[in-house]
Symmetry: C2
Subunit: 193 residues, 2 copies
């Protein structure tokens, strides 16, 4: 007896997140409208407010979810490769894949403005990047890394990937050059070669 949609949706929160994710992916975070999401789901525009009091709360939730997915991808890249250089390359590729295939979401994740739940976003980011730092620590232990602070090196590496994605994202770099850029970046970071 689930026809004629019951008064209670069931799991509105997840439905809203799914629809919002789709909208962001297709049209960007700026175009996201609470009302539109609500109506396409089939509820009043005020209904999602039970879960997301304001628009920014929804955006924050999307960002947290995004970092969670990114972290999983990075961890997976680490787990399915072995050896320092291979791991670095795998992580770099996974990171850039994510940022480019989910460009709008990435822009949202790294946006400046986060709402009351901004801490959660920050924690999500930290958790996502933890595998990277771990990798760099191992790299230093194996001597494959210069004797600098692995945390700093990791950050610079991260920054480089982030920047490459950004340049591709905003059109300064054509996607075709992407692999070459990764090669250059890796060469510079592996220290050797």
């Amino acid at each position: 007896m689930k026809v004629a949609r019951p008064y209670h949706h069931g799991n509105l929160r997840q439905a809203v997140l799914n629809e919002a994710t789709a909208v962001v992916r297709e049209r960007g975070a700026a175009e996201l409208s609470l009302r539109e999401v609500a109506t396409t789901i089939g509820v009043t525009h005020a209904a999602p407010r039970r879960y997301f009091p304001g628009r920014q709360d929804l955006l924050d939730a999307l960002a947290v979810e995004g970092f969670s997915r990114l972290g999983a991808r990075l961890q997976d890249a680490l787990d399915t490769s072995s050896g320092y250089r291979e791991q670095v390359r795998a992580v770099a590729t996974a990171y850039l894949d994510f940022m480019i295939s989910e460009a709008n979401l990435t822009e949202l994740m790294f946006a400046t403005k986060h709402g009351a739940d901004g801490d959660a976003v920050g924690e999500g980011a930290a958790a996502a990047f933890a595998p990277l730092l771990q990798m760099f620590r191992r790299g230093q232990a194996e001597g494959a890394l210069s004797n600098r602070d692995p945390e700093r090196t990791g950050l610079v590496f991260l920054a480089t990937l982030q920047g490459i994605a950004g340049l591709v994202h905003c059109g300064v770099v054509p996607p075709g050059q992407l692999d070459d850029l990764i090669d250059d970046a890796l060469a510079q970071f592996s220290g050797l070669s």
Copy 2:
């Protein structure tokens, strides 16, 4: 007889740009409202539409202006320093200074969504980065650079700076670590220690 503000503002376009710049600097591009800018200037909300048909046009104009200012700063950094390593450092510092002191504007400049005038934004960006490429070509000529494609090296360098600014921007990196990060990045890019 300029009291009692004349019917014609005089140079509304520039006034709008100035006010919009201030708003973006203080509250970010997302908060920018054509109407608010118009009323604080003292004209009807429809008046600026003569110059900026839509909100996005104003944002694009701000981005173009931003790239122009950034380009000037980079060129200045190049002109007031000599020697490859010094120039690289000067440019990096100038670039990061700009991006951090004008964080909101930078976010706007590198945003994905540009309107009908998007080409102008792209050209502005290219013009701003021209001094950088020039510097890298010289660096290669002087042999201070590895024998890779200077264009690609420049892009990776650019990406790294961009990424560092982004990480600082979104709070992943505390500003205090900035100088150290720059040092690391420079060490990796100068190729020599």
